[in-house]
């Protein structure tokens, strides 16, 4: 496989894993979590703390995920739950949360750039040309996460309840499903996924209080385009991530950085339903 193909595949996989947490929350709670970028940042700092404490870097993402899940439950109770019936306000509140998290991190760690150790260093020629081993590992993990989430949604009791809440919350409540609990767990799960994703991408980049922001907008666009389904999120990540790599390679990295935003906006204008069911 050529470097370009590997670039496209790994970029798409990274986009997928970064956007997954946002989609989980949007799907069940009909809520755009604007604190997603801040959660990614938290994950990045979790990875930084883990590795600087001398713990194996392989544990960074799971630990970040656990931390995210726990704090997600608390945040849901305090900020998100009172805003269930005001979705646009919930967006703003989560944005405010993002500011607060960003400032707390700045107060604790300063504005400077930090680095976290990577579980895998160097290159591998496993798939042909020499290529960053961690990028390939992250891609494999992303695929695993996608499969695990799909399994969670379709083969577990929680998944069944969540799907019922997605389709018709009032009816689900009538059937005795505790939709408040489903929502709380969902928010925790989404936050945990975001933190874990932040920890996963950190070895590829550096950590700073605003690292999540650029990812927020791209994740956002991908989730809007794909509706609520993991296969279509994967498809959208592949299509737009591929376009981003191509534009960055052949036109310019700055234009490349805008590819997803612009393409997604146009796709949604032409077909408001995006990739969901065609």
């Amino acid at each position: 496989m050529s470097i370009l193909v590997l670039d496209i595949l790994t970029t798409s996989a990274i986009l997928f894993v970064v956007a997954a947490g946002l989609m989980v929350i949007l799907g069940v709670m009909k809520l755009i979590n604007f604190a997603h970028g801040a959660f990614l940042t938290v994950g990045g700092y979790a990875a930084f703390l883990t590795t600087s404490a001398g713990i194996s870097p392989w544990l960074a993402a799971p630990l970040a995920g656990l931390f995210g899940f726990a704090s997600g439950l608390v945040i849901e109770r305090l900020i998100v739950r009172p805003l269930y019936d005001r979705p646009l306000d919930a967006i703003l509140a989560t944005w405010g949360l993002g500011i607060v998290i960003g400032q707390l991190i700045t107060l604790a760690f300063g504005r400077g750039v930090q680095f976290a150790d990577s579980p895998l260093t160097g290159v591998t020629s496993l798939l042909g040309p020499d290529y960053s081993a961690w990028r390939i590992a992250v891609s494999a993990i992303a695929i695993g996460v996608g499969l695990a989430l799909t399994a969670l949604l379709y083969f577990t009791r929680f998944g069944l309840n969540a799907r019922a809440v997605i389709m018709n919350e009032a009816l689900a409540r009538g059937l005795g499903i505790d939709s408040v609990r489903v929502r709380a767990v969902t928010f925790g799960l989404g936050a945990g996924l975001a933190c874990a994703a932040g920890a996963l991408i950190t070895p590829l980049l550096s950590v700073d209080p605003n690292m999540g922001l650029p990812w927020l907008v791209n994740s956002f666009m991908l989730v809007m385009v794909s509706g609520v389904s993991f296969p279509s999120l994967a498809l959208a990540a592949l299509a737009f991530g591929g376009a981003q790599v191509l534009v960055s390679t052949y036109v310019s990295p700055i234009v490349g950085g805008l590819t997803i935003v612009v393409l997604a906006a146009l796709v949604l204008r032409v077909n408001p339903k995006g990739f969901a069911r065609g």
């Binding site: 755009i32 900020i79 009172p82 805003l83 005001r86 979705p87 646009l88 306000d89 967006i91 703003l92 509140a93 944005w95 405010g96 949360l97 500011i99 607060v100 400032q103 707390l104 700045t106 107060l107 907008v217 956002f220 666009m221 809007m224 310019s252 700055i254 234009v255 950085g257 805008l258 935003v261 612009v262 906006a265 146009l266 949604l268 204008r269 408001p272 069911r277």
Partner: protein, 596 residues
Amino acid sequence: MAEPRFALSRAHRTAALGALTAGAVVAVGPLLLDTYMTNILIRALFLAAVVMTVDVLWGYTGVLTFGQSAFFGVGAYACALVFTHYGFGADWGLLALALGIGAAMTIALLTGWLAFFHGASPLYGSIITLALPIVLTQAIFSGGRFTGSSSGLSGFPTWYWPVEVYFWIAGGLLVAVTTLGWLLVRSDFGRVLVAIRENEERCAYLGVPVSRIKIALMMAAAAVAAAAGFGYAAFTNVVAPELAGFLLGTEFLIYTALGGRGTLLGPVLAGVGIDVTASWLSGQLPFLWKLMTGVAFIVVIVLLPRGLAPVFMALGRLIPGGPPEPPAALVAAPRRAGPGAETAAPPLRIEALTRSYGSLQVLKGVTMTGHASELLSVVGPNGVGKTTLMRCVSDGAERSGGTVEINGVALGRGAPQRATAMGVGRSFQNTSLFDSLTVAECLQLARMRVDGARLFHRRDEIRLPEPARDILRATGLDQKLAEETRNLSHGMKRGLELAMVLATEPSVLLLDEPTAGLTKAERGAIGAVLTRLTREFGLCIVLIEHDLDFVREISDRVVVLHQGAILMEGAVEEVVASDLVKAVYAGHGADRGAAA
């Protein structure tokens, strides 16, 4: 402004008084304040003008925009680019200002076209406004030496006037645009904006061109923001990509939310106040200050969704209220020939209409005609596509195939407001009104398509055609014009909805179960009005109804819909007596019946 009517209006008097007071404060301000404070305030005043536009867009119209900073940035960069690269002087200054405003309005037009169309979710529009500043910032970054890239432009020639002059310019701009904004939101047009926020769908079906209004509003807001940005750049002599960035855009939202969205003065005062405090405190407590803003923002959103302004107003009645204005009076609208009065074509002609959702075919080739002065009832069990049929007639984008003609004109793919302009009026199965508007305001809104909505003036009469006034009288609504619609009984809500549809002067009236949940007396009153509408006013009424007795009483003709196709069509007695229809309603032997 020379019309005597304007001088009499209370809103205009209040606005003039407020503008004069604020103008006096602005005039003496720099004489009392030290230079440091004046400098900080100039920045805050320019930003507050943008916050005002955010409140009109978001607080009043419900368009959550993250992108108002983009237009501010466009104005600022227009100033910096022209003065840096081309020339400086009064003429160049005017040119730069015109360029900035023109560019901002063009970008707003494109953004609006992208963000607002019938059926777009409000979330999508917000995302587009979020993408706008991101795209613009990247464009500035990639501008190289021309735009100064990430470090921006500074030290370009500008007017080195004393700070007092800049203070008066910034303050004058803020007072002027806020006064205009204040009059706008209190005008007929302002009521349309609130109606769009409350129930966009219903607005479209009343013939309000929702998307066009949003785009126009966005362009006006862009022009104000660009003017403020221009002044800001000329004053500070520095521009940077952050001026167009989305962080500033979200700060505008925060100010608006904290001040109290939909109060106009609240966000403006909050904008000035917070920005000044921020400039003060961010020197001493840089990160802590932002943290406090963030926490305050969350607390206000969660606990005080209306912001701080209502709290202040409740505390001390800071903003004088006075007795409420009396509601507008009902007057007769001149009877005019509606659309289709001249043509000989039937008001409604449906040909081979189909509608499918994926593989599910709900309507399978429905062909029917509605004549003038005819009440046509569509009956059939639940789920046969009756409401879908109405939707296809009132919204051109709905149907999958076939044609719909209104008064001989093809509907095409027009949005609901186009169908309304062609003469279709539609009431909904579930009452769909504007909760926070009064009865009088709802009726005036329904008249917007016919009477127009003035930008800075409020009409004090409601012109209604006779049938609409009949409905109001029959349901007792004419005594409740000042009541907010959410306080009405169910029967009155149905009556108001019907009166609103009639106020648009339709020639084809689509009624989806207008009597559901009404008492026998209310039902009788509505039946009488419907009969009169066909007999005296020549309307074509298509009625969906489950109550066969009601149908039998008032219909001229009945169409029976079954499994997405017309099963039977004919005079009332004929259909009601038919075994086929009984079989369909009883739910057995239907297929055998259809085959027979």
